[in-house]
Subunit: 366 residues, 2 copies
Amino acid sequence: MERILATYRITAPESESRARAEALAAEQSVEMPLAAIGDERVLDEVVASVESIRPHAGCFDVVLGIAPSTTGGEPSQLMNMLFGNCSLQPEVELIDVRFPAAFTGRFPGPRFGLEGFRAATGVRDRPLTCTALKPQGSSVEHLAHLARAFALAGLDVIKDDHGIADQADHPFARRVPAVQRAIAEANRETGGNTLYAPTFSGGSRALADQARIASEHGVRLALIAPFLVGIPAFVDLQAQLGVPVMAHPAFAGASRIAPPVLLGTLLRLFGADAVIFPNHGGRFSYSRETCLDIARRAREPWEGVRPALPVPAGGMSVERVGEMVSGYGEDVMLLIGGGLLGARERLAEKSREFVRAVRGNGSPAR
Amino acid sequence: MERILATYRITAPESESRARAEALAAEQSVEMPLAAIGDERVLDEVVASVESIRPHAGCFDVVLGIAPSTTGGEPSQLMNMLFGNCSLQPEVELIDVRFPAAFTGRFPGPRFGLEGFRAATGVRDRPLTCTALKPQGSSVEHLAHLARAFALAGLDVIKDDHGIADQADHPFARRVPAVQRAIAEANRETGGNTLYAPTFSGGSRALADQARIASEHGVRLALIAPFLVGIPAFVDLQAQLGVPVMAHPAFAGASRIAPPVLLGTLLRLFGADAVIFPNHGGRFSYSRETCLDIARRAREPWEGVRPALPVPAGGMSVERVGEMVSGYGEDVMLLIGGGLLGARERLAEKSREFVRAVRGNGSPAR
């Protein structure tokens, strides 16, 4: 099979570029001196190849060809081959990765993807709207009450805050039925179709229990932080859940994998149907260019892999809806959490404002 | 319960320190404007507290008090509260964490720890020796052959290379019995007690299968990369395996958690019996001070949590044994992989040299 092409930016004098590139090729494959390898097949077919070295503004970019066989077709081992040991070398950054067409057959990619979110919400011709239940530590009753208010305002998706997991204040088994019921009631009143995406977290037994509870109560979306639960658990959970999943970037701060690669390309390959990322101009420092690149990679054509739904978030406000829609286009879900909750007694009004702003920006829908 | 005390170094002007500290306290707990929280109990008991702010060489250190209840007593949610969202803020680094005594009761810590490695190997009065089977892509027969040579030379522990997982060239189900058998035969010939630590990788089903195979073949140690398989899977696997586990730092490059905290404190809390880390002066750039701090944190007294065994590695050589032992003391396992394999036809001799160098540095043993 063709090689996986991984591009690394190495901050080191250009005079060392050849030696550094070859050392990296060994580190990310056989992890031993090539001179000590007697097996010609290993040298030819297993050791990563140095495909190119190009200077770049005082550092240099190295493209390695990584043998697909070394990944065992398994997600955590793929991450190991891409950025396992070199994650410990601060001068090395993973800035791009390209997979041979045959390789993506081994990974599911999104089961539902962008289209799955449109199908589940019934929203066709405008960006989707999303908010979050907060703060952690609230009573289940308060969270259900908030969910009802958001659903009555016509939000498309209400997700748990990423800090709301399976804690004693709001255990999954009690919170999810209560919130799901509150939203269902609101939907009946409005004729709307608001969906709830609860946080799935913990070890495999906890995740399996949560999947069972969610399914019993008709939950139709899920929120998961792949870097917290582990990438293999993230992939396995998709099959157990059978509903579209939103990936949350918490603990993704392996800051030396370029965010568009980690959040746009790799999370999509691993099956995220929607990818939440910190939008520029909020509480995080990603540039506009980085954010647009995450969205582009989530949606761009990729043979055999469905597009995922980009979800810019992290300190957004209703005032920015127009600008975000003109930047990201309509295939996007806008997530505003604190910006709605901050309105306090005006929460319902602010939520309706958000909904109207997005509906007004898209074609007239539902 | 008392708070978890997490220290963050923030690279920002000191004039902003109070505002930044309070923003971080919100980010790492309720993730919303405090002004929008009406529930006094949440403000008092859930929102992280700013315990102190201290200037530090052009930046400042903030100690947050994180409410243990927000972690749900679950490892991935603990990581979320410590470094979930702020992992995405490049100016924030987690440099220390202290747990209240009552908190560690919720986590196992090492089941065997440093003493478990001494009990399993029978080595009491000197550092332990360790090497790695490489390269990935080798035949199972070649790996078994290498294992035999290392065992005959008297190494204490032979681990898989971290890149050797469950690939077609050496599937776990075929490799582990073959290597285990080769080592058992060598042990019978020498009267020695060399142990094998295979790599466990993949999703929960794969890990369960591997645990079953390992147990059927009498495997008595395990090698796991917690940041690749996921921290919850790492914790769960310990209970399934029931043997001492070595933690490998691959993909731990969330470089803005200080390595002594991530590898020394947190991996120990999560149950690593031995912690592999890149030693100074090798292929990685950790300073001597950082490495000594990792070892100190792995072994220092911690009420209710067993000491873990530090395993400096990553480009070490037999020539450095004396220096490493004088730096780390005797409660250490020295891991040399490529440095032995690089000797090629002199591999057996080089391995015996390593064993002799370590035995000579400790008290006369077994």
